[in-house]
Symmetry: C2
Subunit: 380 residues, 2 copies
């Protein structure tokens, strides 16, 4: 019997524990650096050679042997022949043989085939040593890191053209709500799946066709299945029964508002999330449960991928005890937060108007005025 | 004469003021909702009709006239005929004619062709009123908002299939550094351009070919040109001169470390940014100047698009007065920050190892131990 059925809803801690136990990171695939932005590194990447590979000039100047500049000064310039004793170099050039320092253009003056050194230069000055950035064998990027511009730049600098990344989870979305209603859940979930590193394997409008739902639950090709709608107690609500028949219904009913009719289970090795059809409930059941499973498959941190900050409540945030409640809030100019009309009344419009949300845990009846809370920021 | 030339570097405030004055948001183009994720809305979108369009059931239950339930109780059930006096409805169904409330399955029991109401139901109970989410003509998403899952869901719910978004800036990257060095700037900048909403118009390795650089600066088809390398004082550094000849060199030299040889200007109406070739300098000159221009073109907030938080310095952060200095820091377990080896020594590797950066303003010689600072978080 599924946890949460029979009227008792599963706590969010049980939901998270089920996901942690049952959902694992996917395997790896090779990818070229040019296609690697945003991907999660599957295994530590180490430098095949030192970076830089040789000593090189740190800036534009004159490479020379520092010993030849001892005693140089504005009133005692030392003249060096360019091309033999000294060499014009640009930042990044390998240090020519026989040189061990770079004089800046303030320390040296070019005059045709020679240059005058007007200040003594210390050995190693303005030289970037071989291996200063990375020794051979040093860690370039660690497994689990998402590749951003800096990671891609360093990999390119280290001469790495391809690497192993975690496969992108293939997500199947099955819309099983009443036919004819406008579908806001499809576009919304498509965007959430893309944000969390998944690819859309298929999105199918099944309406109340239970046979089609049963077939779509067991078809191969997906790493995660989201069933949307049909999760409630109504006579036409067949999502939980269909999952119980096709595989395992582990959880049906979560102590979450909005989103309390959500469920979780699996068909063979593929996790299946049941999401309410009402858009705000669908959104928060995704964020708190289905998205968590997707992020784990993708090798990302499983928590809510929204920026957060601490803030003080300007007014009491009211919530029901025994449920994790998602409270939309507005950020005031002074940095405090105050509640705005809830999802129950205004659905997605409330989520769009709110600056952020506060997650009130199960054991609390809200937060008193003046409490410090964590606000997850919505929008961009 | 360009500001910042002649050895005097332009302050970051002057750089930002130039960008604000000279770089404007691009025009709009229509896009289908399915392709709109991440795009910036060009003009306010209003609801063409109320959402929901009619009164509808807020949950699964029995729709009925509330007046018929007055006096109902567990010991005084009132029987209503299904299909005429009462109707089984699913959440989201339009309220049938003659009904004004929905009894929950706790308040009503179905028995074949009838149902028994065991609790009085208030008029409007569990009914989502027409227009409760959006009145006709109400704002759905405001101009300037980036479309995320919630915005896409609400637009779909409101029946909007396409909308006007800000065009994606076309960015041309011209690599004008010494030939033969490994190109880490290209992959890094490509990823930054994608992050900031641009598309890569072209990326060209020009090396020291000044004629090719001159042609590429004036070729049509780009909304922003990034010239990488050749910005320093070296004899082969021709980027600033090429820009001055092709158009206007407004700024050359910025009070920024790393990144002090960066520049800005324009060719006709197209902004051009000059970026140092050294990877860490290239990165921060992009983030503080070129990226700011790109984000303005794209209609995004021009500031650094990195999450930030306040933290206290565990040790002194040292920086030079007269320069905005980008200091890499590590976040300790207690939430305090401490400096890590700087970009000067470890280049991009320092940016990858750091948890974040602190931007020390021009007028300060760093931050004393125990100061509160803003940390911009790197990585993901």
């Amino acid at each position: 019997m599924a946890e949460g059925s029979q009227g008792r809803r599963a706590g969010l801690a049980a939901v998270e524990a089920w996901i942690e136990r049952e959902v694992q990171r996917l395997g790896a695939e090779p990818v070229a650096l040019a296609q690697a932005q945003g991907r999660v590194v599957a295994a530590d990447v180490v430098a095949p050679a030192p970076l830089p590979p040789v000593d090189r000039a740190a800036l534009d100047g004159i490479a020379l042997g520092a010993a030849a500049t001892v005693g140089a000064g504005a009133y005692n310039p030392i003249t060096l022949r360019l091309g033999t004793e000294a060499h014009v170099v640009a930042a990044g050039d390998a240090l020519p043989a026989g040189t061990d320092a770079v004089a800046t253009l303030d320390q040296a003056q070019r005059t045709g085939a020679t240059c005058e050194i007007i200040e003594a230069v210390a050995p190693g000055s303005q030289v970037e040593r071989a291996g200063a950035q990375l020794a051979a064998g040093a860690l370039v990027v660690a497994a689990g890191r998402r590749l951003d511009a800096v990671g891609l730049g360093l990999l390119a600098a280290a001469g790495i053209a391809a690497l192993a990344v975690v496969c992108r989870p293939r997500v199947r979305i099955l819309l099983a709500g009443p036919p004819g209603t406008r579908d806001s859940d499809g576009p919304m979930l498509g965007a959430l799946v893309a944000r969390d590193g998944g690819t859309l394997e298929a999105i199918r409008m099944l309406g109340r066709d239970r046979a089609a739902l049963a077939r779509a639950l067991v078809a191969p090709g997906a790493d995660l299945v989201l069933v949307v709608g049909g999760t409630g107690p109504g006579a036409d609500d067949g999502a939980a029964a269909a999952l119980a028949q096709a595989g395992t219904l582990a959880i049906h009913g979560m102590a979450l508002r909005p989103g309390d009719t959500a469920g979780l289970g699996r068909v063979d090795s593929v996790p299946v999330a049941l999401l309410p059809g009402a858009p705000a409930a669908c959104l928060w059941a995704y964020e708190m449960a289905a998205g968590r499973a997707l992020r784990r498959l993708a090798g990302r941190p499983p928590g809510l991928p929204l920026p957060s900050r601490r803030a003080v409540t300007a007014r009491k945030l009211v919530s029901a005890i025994g449920l994790v409640e998602i409270c939309p809030v507005a950020l005031r100019a002074d940095g405090a937060v105050e509640p705005v009309a809830g999802f129950a009344e205004a659905g997605l419009a409330a989520a769009l108007r709110a600056d952020g949300i506060v997650i009130v845990p199960e054991g609390r009846e809200g937060h008193a005025q003046g409490s410090e809370v964590v606000v997850y920021l919505l929008g961009s």
